[in-house]
Amino acid sequence: MKGVKSMLRVWAAAAATGVGLLALAGCGNAGVASGSQPSSASHTITLTYDYPVGVSGPLAQIMNGMVARFNQTHPGIHVNPVFSGNYVQTLAKVETAIQSGTPPAVAVLNHTAVFDLLHLNAVQPLDSLVQSGDFYPALLQPKVGGHYWSVPFQRSTVVLYYNKALFAKAGLNPDQGPSTWQQLVQDASLIQEKTGVTGIEIPSDGTVYWEFQPFAIEAGQNLAANDGVTVHFNSQAAETALQFWVDLSHKYHVEPPGILPWNTVPDDFERGKTAMIVHSSGSLASIVQNASFPVGVSFMPQGVGQARTNMGGGDFYIFRGISPAQTQAAETFVRWMTAPAQAAYWSMHTGYVPVTSQALQDPQMQRFVQQHPQFLVAPEQLQYAEPELSTYQLNQIYEIFDSAVQSVLDGQTDVKTALNRAQQQAEAALAPYRTTGQ
């Protein structure tokens, strides 16, 4: 009996595995059919569209809604939107798909991924698409190898959010955030003294380099040149900025010590646990919606010179290895998504910068910003914004710099040692690209 039983078990296991494999194979085929090969069943061109969500709020729903509207209004094209995690996870997914020979037709990826994508020879130049729109010039920097490789879509700046109710309670002017680093410290201490609420929180986990960049830029130098191989991690400016971050917690005691996660900082602000936060302008809609107090948004307080900021966010890329018909359909899709009506819609529902001046002039957008003037801060900031840290080996370079900052905030290393080590590690990682040029 036992022999029969074990035999049955083996067969059952084999059968189950076999079914599982068939199912997997089925998935694979379905993936190919809906992905990059034109479907033979009808004349509809299908496009796979991978996108990330990098800020707070129900952005995936909003995105899927927009894509559904595109599909309704464009018979002959069907776009499959695929939510793929955060920016790093989405890039990993896209790169894996490229390696297996089934790239998505179109994806939103970090604007800064351009060097790595070019190194993989993965994307098509989009010069005509970019030149036919009236995108803000700041959003198109840097041009790499003489071409535009991506179309600006969900672009953001680093801004300062502040709780107007707490500012009023502490006797500060609620119409204006702090305009200098010094005033930031003063306001934060005053609020802590008068209300008992934490002065400020700056996220230091997730995309540390990004929140840090405005401080470095304001202290005199950005973290990198625009050539993909040069970084300035141990500059005097970076040192000044990092020392200021440390001082916020340990000298002025206006920020909780330790490492603050990117995702929980907006929650803390919305719940009135902290009076100010530094975050992406892309989180604006969600913050305004969830906060029970009037939300103030201002430029980053200025350091040595004028107030500056850092740009971030994602662009549309169209991939190599898809059919000409798919490329054309993908261009239609990207053109539609970045057209004034859609760009304005996306901006109003997220807080991302309207990417063209026409989008800002859109009548609905104009009515909207009259009611919510906070949404004008980021577009006004564009003229003072510098490009986001962008190099080859991007994720590794980010990791190197983020670790350096975190090891200082965590009290393991001093500012100078950490930044020098980061510079050295980054130069080693970028060395192969510097010699070959690509």
Binding site: V88, D205, P261, Q406, D410
Partner: protein
């Protein structure tokens, strides 16, 4: 109980003295035919990928994971030169040591307690469900649960602590406490599972040994150290190896809860492997790390099998 353990060989000889049933006579061919499919699966999904990883680790790979030539040991050198690698190894060592030691100890205590619970007691079933529910929850779901447990201010843990006058701690916000959380999650998930093995081991101790112990050593202390523990030793060793393997392979809660942070404090070797490949696109060093892990983990697995085959249950 013992023979139902998933790693015990499933081939049972017919009861001695009786003639083998008719259908099994001369059916070796059928047996091999039945094994062909599983064997093919093992070849396709275990043997070939392992071999391919080994070969890859010796090739120069570009960012698209395409081979561009022979690299010798360059990938291994590059792996050890990675700025994070030492940090990750240290994290993994601490985590593995703490998680496997504690989980085996907790499992042993649980097994002794469970051995005393009478199966027909009305509470017994509820108790078992309560203890084993973490084990059957998928890790991804469990990790998401724990994210809620641990959320500062609103999480269950913080509220309980505040009730005690403590709290306000951001458990995942500091490298050391975050790694401790990972150890706790491991215990929560795996200790009951290991207890099941140890309970099986205890229940396999012959009745007459227990009866003799009850007479000779009524207080139980000496009997535990001199008799029960040695009898349980092979099963303990097996569970320890299993615990080590599971600890080294921990990746899903890291991916869900911390992504290796803060400050790489929870960056364990399996997560780092993912990072090397899919975030840094350093396919060469990733292949080298896979090959090293394969060597270490398969030696551990082999040890577990040898323990089970040669040494376990020798009293029967």
């Amino acid at each position: 109980m013992v023979q139902e353990s998933p790693l015990t060989p499933q081939v049972h000889p017919g009861p001695r003295g009786l003639p083998a049933p008719r259908w099994s006579q001369g059916s070796t061919g059928l047996a091999y035919a039945a094994l062909a499919l599983p064997a093919a699966l093992v070849l396709a999904f275990v043997a070939w990928p392992s071999l391919s990883t080994l070969i890859h680790s010796l090739l120069a790979l570009n960012a698209r994971d395409e081979a561009t030539g022979f690299a010798g040991l360059a990938n291994y050198r590059a792996l050890f030169a990675q700025p994070l690698f030492g940090h990750v190894l240290a994290n993994t060592a601490w985590f593995t040591l703490a998680a496997s030691t504690l989980s085996v100890l907790v499992a042993l205590a649980l097994a002794f307690l469970l051995a005393r619970v009478r199966g027909d007691h009305p509470m017994a079933r509820g108790l078992l469900v309560a203890i084993f529910s973490p084990t059957i929850i998928p890790t991804i779901a469990a990790a998401n649960l724990w994210l809620y447990f641990l959320a500062p201010q609103i999480g269950l843990v913080d509220r309980l602590l505040r009730w005690l006058g403590l709290g306000g701690e951001n458990w995942l916000g500091q490298p050391h406490s975050a790694l401790a959380v990972m150890v706790a999650l491991y215990l929560w998930k795996y200790a009951p599972y290991y207890a099941l093995f140890l309970l099986a081991g205890m229940q396999a101790v012959p009745r007459n040994v227990l009866d003799a112990l009850r007479l000779d050593d009524p207080r139980g202390a000496l009997g535990f150290w001199r008799v029960l523990l040695p009898l349980l030793a092979p099963m303990l060793l097996f569970v320890t190896v299993l615990a080590l393997l599971n600890a080294v392979e921990t990746v899903d809660p890291i991916y869900v809860m911390t992504q290796g942070g803060p400050n790489n404090g929870t960056n364990l070797v399996m997560y780092y492997l993912y990072q090397l490949g899919f975030e840094f696109f350093a396919w060469g060093p990733a292949a080298a790390l896979s090959a090293l892990l394969m060597a270490v983990l398969s030696s551990l697995s082999a040890l577990a099998l040898i323990v089970l085959e040669r040494r376990a249950f020798h009293w029967q």
